[in-house]
């Protein structure tokens, strides 16, 4: 048995008898690195940045379209640059992460009840994916037609 006792220091001005001095641990700025669930949470939240980045790209593309075929071609060319591809590659990862977490968490916020019992989460999440597939197919069809 090795209970390591620290030497007790007598000179601690802070404690006054009968007035307990609570120890308040500080939350580190890097708290979200400490635990996988927290990291996952932060990544989920960060995904919004990539959503915004893509919206900006979309807006720029629209501006290029408005500015005429040459401007549009120039923009298309920029999209092929390694830097643009890198950004968009990362964005795709995050955006998919957003989609999946969003759909999976939806049931938690909905609590659809059937005969008094909460429906199992999978039953509520599944339709989201179906809609997602349909919408994606529709957009692709419109654009490629």
């Amino acid at each position: 048995m090795f209970a390591v006792k620290q030497p007790t220091t007598k000179v601690l001005p802070l404690y006054q008898e009968f007035h307990p001095r609570w120890y308040r641990p500080r939350v580190s700025v890097y708290w979200w690195l400490g635990q996988w669930q927290y990291l996952k949470f932060i990544l989920r939240e960060i995904s919004s940045v990539f959503v915004a980045v893509f919206v900006v790209i979309t807006l720029l593309q629209l501006r290029a379209l408005r500015a005429g075929p040459e401007a549009y071609a120039r923009f298309q060319h920029w999209l092929q640059s390694p830097i643009a591809l890198a950004i968009n590659g990362i964005s795709l990862f995050f955006v998919l992460f957003h989609t999946i977490t969003w759909f999976n968490l939806a049931p938690r916020a909905m609590a659809v009840r059937f005969r008094g019992k909460r429906l199992p989460e999978i039953l509520i999440a599944a339709p989201n994916y179906v809609v997602w597939a349909l919408v994606s197919a529709g957009v692709t069809w419109l654009v490629l037609r």
């Binding site: 008898e17 009968f18 007035h19 307990p20």
Partner: protein, 599 residues
């Protein structure tokens, strides 16, 4: 020294304490009410009650039947006037709890649902799934939050009652967080500190059930009543002592010996039927079932485990659906603490100390002979439980007599003057005592844990399910020795802040007193009745013992036992019959007799 002052002070924030606090606040909103509790109120042990609370609500039931079940279940040691008041008020109290939001389980049409319970002839046990006590306690606690006159002292440990001139003036308590020892004075004090299961080694009771209130009252000069009646519950999980609620049997569980045989049929408890029959077999009363276990064990028909011998509780035939809907907590406990699934496996169980029938002797309003001192809940003995409490009566008891004591104390307090300085002086002495005996003590050799263990062993050996003269006398001697050694206790922890070792030592002191009172009362009662079974006196003796034992503390610290006749109003003592011969309805019950005699 600091002090605070109130009109009514509750020691204990369990079911009884909180109910009393609300009652007092409702009687007189001008009163200042304090709830002192050594744990946050919602941690009180009421939280772990599973099965339910009895109260007549359904048309096929009657108050008389509830009274009769209670009285016969208590082997005629109940005061019948108290029982009649109890059964009458229980439904109202349970209804009041419904009005405060308690999530009682319901019938499909929205009415309260009731279930069968051991020793009860009719279905009359209200339940909230199998977490009845939990829901009741949280409902009560949350409801108290809306009463401004109720001040809480959470995590304050009461060490002593302040008594001056035959009148109780308040308490001395330690604020655990700071270690401050101070007086809280009050015009009336209600003890609601719960039972004392931790006196025994194997119990369903939580760590906080140390008989504090019993010892506090005993030391202050009040008497304890019927302390020899300790209830064993027949179905506890080995090792942990976790309770498998009676509801498991009420829903149709079987008790099997090692050969898979429903052994209760051999002990005058009826014939086995596939479905539960009230007041029969597995639904017999707890004392009989626990005694049957011991017999079965002596015949070598139980299974040996490292934690004592066991029989099996079989729920498998109920099926997963019923188990999940009616007994979810049972399943959870088995999975979490015993690592088995009752849907597919047999549950090992053995009798376990569960409830204290005895306690601080009070009248029907919770008042003790000491002016200003009241008690309610498991700590008290109003005498509705007699020699054996019926399952689901005690939660209702907490409500009925909690409310009664709260009201009575509020009325009493309104008429009293505040305590004077003498209380302060006493509180100061108590602080000095605690410091000298524990915090500043020089020397000492004994550890809290050692003495506690030896006390538990001693009492189990002498005052277990079956008792006899020699072992009880040995137990008494051992306890005397332990009391001496207790004076020589030394603590590792000398600090003020949240000193749980000091708390443990004080609780041990309380438990030693309670243990002694149990053994003394058991020694003096030379008959067998309900939970008190003497192998050397196997018969019930109404001639001499249709009476409550009262144990007093003598100035030298030893005890004195007296007897008080049982109050009999309408039901003459009869044979306790379970199984097929159980009387069908109260009409067959012998009616009206003169008050009982006592030895």
């Amino acid at each position: 020294m600091d002090a605070s002052s109130h009109d009514v002070l509750l020691v204990g924030g369990g079911g009884a304490g909180l109910r009393a606090a609300i009652a007092a606040a409702e009687v007189n909103p001008k009163l200042s009410i304090a709830v002192v509790s050594k744990v946050y109120p919602m941690r009180s042990h009421t939280v772990s009650a599973e099965g339910g609370a009895a109260g007549v609500v359904k048309g096929d039931d009657s108050l008389d039947e509830h009274a009769y079940d209670t009285i016969s279940g208590g082997d005629w040691l109940c005061d019948q006037d108290a029982v009649e008041a109890f059964v009458k008020e229980a439904p109202q109290e349970l209804l009041q709890l419904e009005r405060w939001g308690c999530p009682w389980s319901r019938e499909p049409d929205g009415h309260i649902a009731v279930r069968a319970f051991g020793g009860m002839k009719r279905r009359r046990t209200w339940f909230a799934a199998d977490k009845t006590g939990f829901h009741m306690l949280h409902t009560l606690f949350q409801t108290t939050l809306k009463f401004d006159p109720i001040t809480r002292y959470d995590e304050w440990f009461v060490t002593k009652l302040l008594v001056d001139d035959g009148r109780v003036d308040g308490v001395v308590a330690i604020e655990l967080m700071s270690g401050k020892i101070q007086a809280i004075t009050a015009k009336a004090v209600i003890l609601c500190t719960g039972g004392c299961g931790r006196v025994f080694p194997f119990t369903t009771n939580a760590n906080i059930k140390n008989g504090d209130g019993m010892a506090l009252a005993y030391r202050a000069g009040a008497s304890l009543k019927d302390m020899e009646f300790v209830q064993y519950h027949p179905t506890g999980l080995p090792f942990t002592g976790i309770l498998i609620t009676e509801a498991a049997r009420a829903e149709g569980g079987y008790l099997l010996n090692k050969d898979g045989y429903r052994y209760l049929q051999d002990y005058n408890l009826g014939k086995p039927q596939p479905n539960p029959v009230m007041r029969s077999m597995e639904l017999g009363p707890r004392d009989r079932l626990s005694q049957a276990f011991v017999m079965e064990d002596q015949k070598g028909r139980t299974l040996a485990t490292p934690y004592g011998s066991v029989v099996h509780l079989d729920l498998r035939h109920l099926g997963e659906k019923i188990i999940n809907s009616k007994l979810p907590f049972v399943r959870e406990l088995c999975l979490k603490y015993q690592n088995l699934d009752p849907v597919k496996e047999l549950i090992p169980v053995r009798p376990v100390v569960h409830y204290m029938m005895g306690g601080v002797s009070t009248d029907m309003n919770g008042a003790t002979p000491l002016a200003g001192l009241y008690a309610a809940g498991e700590v008290a003995c109003v005498s509705i439980n007699g020699a054996n409490r019926l399952g689901s009566n005690s939660l209702s008891e907490c409500l009925v007599f909690g409310a009664r004591a709260g009201k009575a104390a509020a009325l009493y307090a309104a008429e009293q003057k505040a305590a004077d300085d003498k209380a302060m002086a006493q509180a100061n002495d108590e602080r000095k005592r605690l410091e000298a005996q524990f915090l500043h003590k020089q020397g000492g050799r004994e550890r809290v844990a050692t003495i506690r263990e030896q006390m538990q062993k001693a009492i189990e050996k002498s005052a277990g399910i079956y008792r006899e003269e020699t072992s009880l006398a040995e137990g008494a001697n051992k306890l005397f020795e332990l009391q001496e050694r207790y004076q020589d206790i030394v603590l590792d922890d000398r600090s003020r802040t949240f000193n749980t070792e000091l708390e443990g030592a004080l609780e041990l002191g309380f438990m030693l007193d309670v243990a002694e009172s149990i053994v003394q009362c058991a020694l003096h009662r030379t008959e067998s009745r309900g939970a008190h079974q003497r192998t050397d006196f196997p018969a019930r003796d109404d001639e001499n013992f249709l009476a409550h034992s009262l144990v007093f503390r003598k100035p030298d610290g030893s005890s004195r036992v007296e007897y008080l006749p049982v109050k009999v109003t309408r039901w003459a003592p009869g044979e306790r019959v379970y199984g097929e011969q159980a009387p069908e309805s109260p009409q067959q019950i012998p009616q009206a007799v003169p008050a009982g005699r006592a030895g």
